[in-house]
């Protein structure tokens, strides 16, 4: 039996910068008959510190998640990267500490949103309608750490009026890479331009991905260069297509 009640791990990026992503996630889950809790102790998974080599600092932040999701049956995040941090790296980060067992427990019950919808809830197709030409970016950590393979595209496939057009290398990194994007900004921008060139060659209106980090990076570059395309999180697109939220609802 899939869980009837889950805890939302909203992620700091979605919470602070893209609250509509968190709301759309709740709407989609409730739409599937799942009750959604939001434990308020959660802050951040600590990935920026962890990826920079600061493990003690990462644990300090990560512990807020261990506490927040202690009692949850399952945890769902609208981010492959943050979900991968919890599932793949928490057991290593807390290895040999008193929190090791809690970290492993949390790792085993944490899911990325599209993965939860398709693999856990068994959603085969989402009916909805949204008229747009869409290209889909496979965010790295969902793809390679969680092994996501097509869940996002599967959910898009049922949307009426939506045309999915693949770019040359949809699985190539967009250049965000967390702190990478400020450590090597010129490189990160060159990688974004490479990705955006591929995306615009498809004639897409929207670049869709399951990670707010990639979209913040690509979106920031698009708005700076005056691109005609728009970034959109998978959760927001699906919630709009299902009529759960109004197009353009943001702040």
């Amino acid at each position: 039996m899939p869980p009837a009640r889950v805890a939302l791990f909203v992620t700091c990026l979605a919470d602070l910068l893209f609250p509509e992503v968190g709301e759309a996630t709740v709407e989609l889950l409730e739409d599937q008959g799942v009750r959604v809790d939001f434990p308020e102790q959660q802050t951040c998974c600590g990935q920026p510190a962890f990826n920079s080599g600061f493990h003690e600092e990462a644990r300090r932040m990560a512990r807020t998640l261990l506490a927040a999701f202690e009692g949850a049956e399952a945890v769902v995040a609208p981010s492959g990267s943050c979900a991968a941090m919890v599932r793949v790296y928490f057991p290593r980060l807390f290895e040999g500490t008193r929190d090791e067992a809690r970290a492993k427990t949390l790792a085993a019950k944490t899911y990325e949103l599209s993965e939860f919808l398709v693999d856990v809830l068994g959603v085969e197709s989402l009916a909805g309608s949204l008229h747009a030409r869409v290209t889909y970016h496979d965010a790295c950590h969902g793809l390679r750490e969680l092994g996501l393979a097509g869940q996002g595209r599967k959910l898009l496939a049922g949307i009426e009026g939506l045309e999915l057009v693949e770019m040359a290398r949809p699985d190539a990194c967009c250049g965000f890479g967390g702190t990478f994007s400020v450590r090597l900004p010129e490189m990160a921008t060159a990688m974004a331009d490479d990705k955006l060139d591929q995306a615009s060659a498809t004639g897409a209106d929207l670049i869709v991905a399951g990670d707010a980090g990639c979209l913040m990076h690509l979106g920031g570059r698009m708005s700076r260069t005056g691109s005609a395309m728009r970034p959109m999180h998978l959760a927001v697109l699906l919630a709009q297509a299902r009529g759960l939220r109004a197009p353009g609802a943001r702040r």
Partner: protein
Amino acid sequence: MSEEALAGTFEERAHLQLQVPGLATAIGRAMDTILGNRALAFAGADLEAMREAGEAIRTHTVASLPAYLERFAETARANGTNVFFAETGSEAVEYVRGVLRAHEARLVVKGKSMAAEEIGLNHALEADGTEVVETDLGEYIVQVAHEPPSHIIVPAVHKTRGQIRDLFNRVHGTDLPDEPERITKFARQHLRERFLAADVGITGVNFAIAEAGSFVIVTNEGNGRMCSSLPHVHIAIMGMERIVPSYRELAVLMPLLTGSATGQRVTTYMNFVHGPRRPQDPDGPEEVHVVVLDNGRSSILEGEFRSILHCIRCGACQNVCPVYRQVGGHAYGAVYGGPIGAVLTPLLSGLERFGDLPNASSLCAACTDVCPVRIPLHDHLLELRRAVVLERAGVAERETFGLWSRAWSRAAGYRLFARLARVGQWPLARAHRIRRGPLWLSRWTRDRDLPAVAARTFRERRRRS
């Protein structure tokens, strides 16, 4: 490439490479071609099973490396090959110089060897007045351009046809068109004379076979065979980890190497060297030397990064790396570029000088995914970042993460951060976007807009609803 271009930080070197016209396009095209061929080469094969087998062989061999090296030295010497163990690069160079002196060698033809690049062999020999001619076409191109190789397998990958034409015409006073066939033909003719005149041939080693005392050189141009058979003396430089127990393991690793490196099921030339010419042999060198190079590898063998010695130098991690794709190998400031270089160079040459290389990755993990012997490259990068922090983290960075993590270790601190950020961003944000960020945020906003903290965060909205 000039000394100047090799100095500085990764960021500075990458900046220079990002300005080179056509560089990223040339690299991207080559990488796409190789990756397309790779997919074809492994089509229908159980690649995961092959990788698993390759990993098992490398893990076993490297774990027992001293024993296998001893065995190889024994069997090779029995074949009449001279085996020299060089602890450092300069020991290796000295040995080679000694052999050259003994034969009064003036002209050396060289096959591609990353180990030789690693110890700066060409420069040392040239300083003695020896002429050294690279005979792999790509390697020859970068030699003529006075640059180090940009890629393990495709040394001149960063150059366009037009650039190579201009280079050749300038250096050789020719009037070649930018047709690859014509350029290659010219190089062949030019190199053929050098092969015939050379006193000594120097090559690398792809694999040495412990039980047989033989080694194998893999090429597509046949230049390895010419270097190892035409001159009277053949010297092979081999990284100490390039060993397999027997031909059985070689048969597993070879298709992984060629499929990953160039997308070939079989390479054009697979040249086995069993030792010097025997009385009944029609040709071959009278002397064969193998220089087994340590140069820091032993210290890696003992620690958590041991699996980087499993590398079979196929270059696949470079081919898939989105960072490498933009700037090529020179940005890495050392012989090995891309993910393998970002891990190996700091380990071989020190965190002090190369401590920033592990950060030259977005941690996209494409390298780990493609590695034919399943080296966890991006995890090594993470561990190296950790090692850098423990050894030499800057105060500003340590303070930043310290403050940040303390503030966000409680939800109250996090909420306060959101409120303060909204106050702080007020003069900067227009239409929810920040175009010029302060302090380190300016590194983001130089080329990208930054979204402002939302007027109401998700949790604030949820509380009020």
